[in-house]
């Protein structure tokens, strides 16, 4: 995915920062053990959030280990793993498989085709184990592709396909918390989709690609409207999150939801200010 769902480091306690890193390294290690080097390459920060959220909600037994890894060979690193890590690693592979498949279909990318071939077997096993999630991933991405091909102008309509995909992945099991988890995932998914469109606007314009923000881009209020839409998504997402009885690592979760998700946004704003300053 995109790596937008990240921590805001300056406000995180040291112990929480190391714990976050350990969950991240745990996912990396699980991906490598289950799916090899290629699996490991699909690692992103976004999915670490889901691990911490579900671990906090279900209070799953977590194992702490120390490992060396290829990225940091000199020093041993803590890893935190549990059943949720396995689940999220599987979902990550399913998403990456579809991502590579799209790359191959859209751009005839050879790397995409190679990736698809290597992950196909793993993907089939995951589909058998999680038919509910995998069929929704497939359908949502198909709907998203159709909406994009039709250059859909209603932002809610395009973004909701990605929201529905995330909603399904967030539902680890269908129980008492399903409704809330679904909404947290749905609005976070919409946030990610809209933010990605905002982030890619200039690039899409150059490549003559579809971007859902085209309808509002000409307006003077463009920036304000984007920020307002993104805020609305997080407002709905967090108002549902606050209903879940998450106690463990809640400081990490709140750090991500209330501040971390804006890290890239603030970076883009600062970059623009810098450019404008140079022009003057």
């Amino acid at each position: 995915m995109f790596g937008y769902v990240n921590i805001y480091k300056p406000e995180l306690k040291m112990k929480d920062y190391y714990k976050y890193k350990a969950y991240y390294c745990g996912l990396c290690k699980t991906l490598k053990d289950k799916y090899g080097r290629l699996g490991q390459m699909t690692l992103t920060y976004d999915m670490t959030f889901l691990i911490i959220l579900l671990t906090s909600l279900y209070e799953s037994d977590t194992v702490r280990e120390e490992h060396r890894c290829i990225v940091h060979p000199a020093k041993k690193h803590d890893t935190l793993c549990n059943e949720i890590t396995e689940y999220v690693a599987d979902m990550n592979i399913a998403l990456s498989y579809h991502h590579l498949l799209d790359d191959w279909k859209d751009d005839k990318s050879i790397a995409g085709l190679a990736g698809v071939r290597m992950l196909r077997k793993d993907y089939k096993v995951i589909c058998k184990r999680y038919p509910r999630q995998c069929s929704v991933i497939r359908e949502s991405l198909h709907l998203l592709g159709t909406a994009e091909d039709n250059e859909e102008k209603n932002i809610d309509l395009v973004a909701r396909s990605f929201g529905e995909l995330m909603a399904e992945i967030f539902v680890y099991q269908q129980d008492f918390w399903e409704e809330s988890l679904r909404k947290v995932g749905f609005f976070l998914g919409k946030f990610i989709y809209i933010f990605d469109a905002y982030d890619d606007y200039v690039k899409d314009l150059k490549n003559n690609s579809y971007n859902p923000l085209v309808t509002i881009h000409g307006k003077d209020s463009y920036e304000a409207e984007c920020k307002s839409m993104l805020t609305m998504m997080m407002a709905e997402c967090t108002s549902e999150f606050e209903k879940l009885p998450c106690i463990i690592d809640v400081d990490i979760l709140r750090n991500i939801l209330y501040n971390g998700v804006w890290t890239k946004y603030v970076a883009i704003q600062n970059e623009r200010k810098l450019k404008e300053g140079k022009k003057e």
């Binding site: 809610d156 909701r160 609305m232 009885p245 501040n259 603030v266």
Partner: protein, 205 residues
């Protein structure tokens, strides 16, 4: 409905959300069905477990909109409309909405040509229920601008506005926020946000 959900969780009404979550965790662990396998008390424990879950859910829903209760539409707060003035089609939409059949409501709404404030309000409720929150705000703004004195429409917008404000406040309190770092400017932004939602934070601007 549980009459006193706070009593079930053994917490004060003034307890913070996090205190309620801790109380819920303790009690749900205590009565969890897994701890009562082959135990004569298992039925009783299961009943208690369900009650604890229900009480927790009820408190969280009540608190969602700043203690103002759930969306008025479902609590009978919405006026079913004057039976003579309201068309049959709009009555059908009203029934869909109270039953939470949002897709059907939107479909029925798209076939109605007379688009008054109430039509936009119904669209807002349906879109909000489906998670189309951008559309919902646009519809609700339209409804309020067509009929600014209608408390039901204004209240609907205020609830969305309240959630946005809560998010931004928490964000500012817990980190850099993503405000401008300038109180005046933030106030101006908040006021503009309120105004575009039909309210007014400070009357001077």
């Amino acid at each position: 409905m549980i009459i006193d959900p706070y009593k079930v969780l053994s917490v004060q009404q003034s307890a913070t959300n996090d205190e309620i979550k801790k109380a819920y965790r303790e009690l749900s662990r205590k009565y969890h069905p897994d701890s009562y396998i082959d135990n004569p008390l298992s039925d009783l424990a299961e009943e208690k477990f369900k009650e604890v879950q229900e009480a927790y859910e009820q408190i969280m829903k009540e608190r969602e909109n700043g203690y103002s209760g759930e969306n008025t539409f479902y609590n009978g707060g919405s006026n079913p409309g004057n039976s003579e003035e309201e068309s049959l089609e709009m009555k059908a939409v009203y029934n869909y909405l109270t039953a939470k059949y949002y897709k059907e409501a939107l479909r029925a709404l798209s076939g109605i040509t007379q688009r008054n404030a109430r039509w936009y309000y119904f669209c807002a409720v349906a879109n909000s229920g489906l998670g189309n929150n951008i559309e919902a705000v646009n519809n609700a703004q339209q409804a309020v601008s067509m009929e600014p004195g209608n408390p039901e429409y204004v209240n609907f917008l205020n609830q969305i506005q309240w959630r946005n404000q809560r998010y931004q406040n928490t964000s500012n309190d817990t980190g850099r926020g993503f405000g401008s770092g300038n109180l005046c400017c933030d106030l101006w932004c908040a006021d503009s946000l309120c105004e575009c939602m039909g309210g007014d934070l400070c009357s001077c601007c």
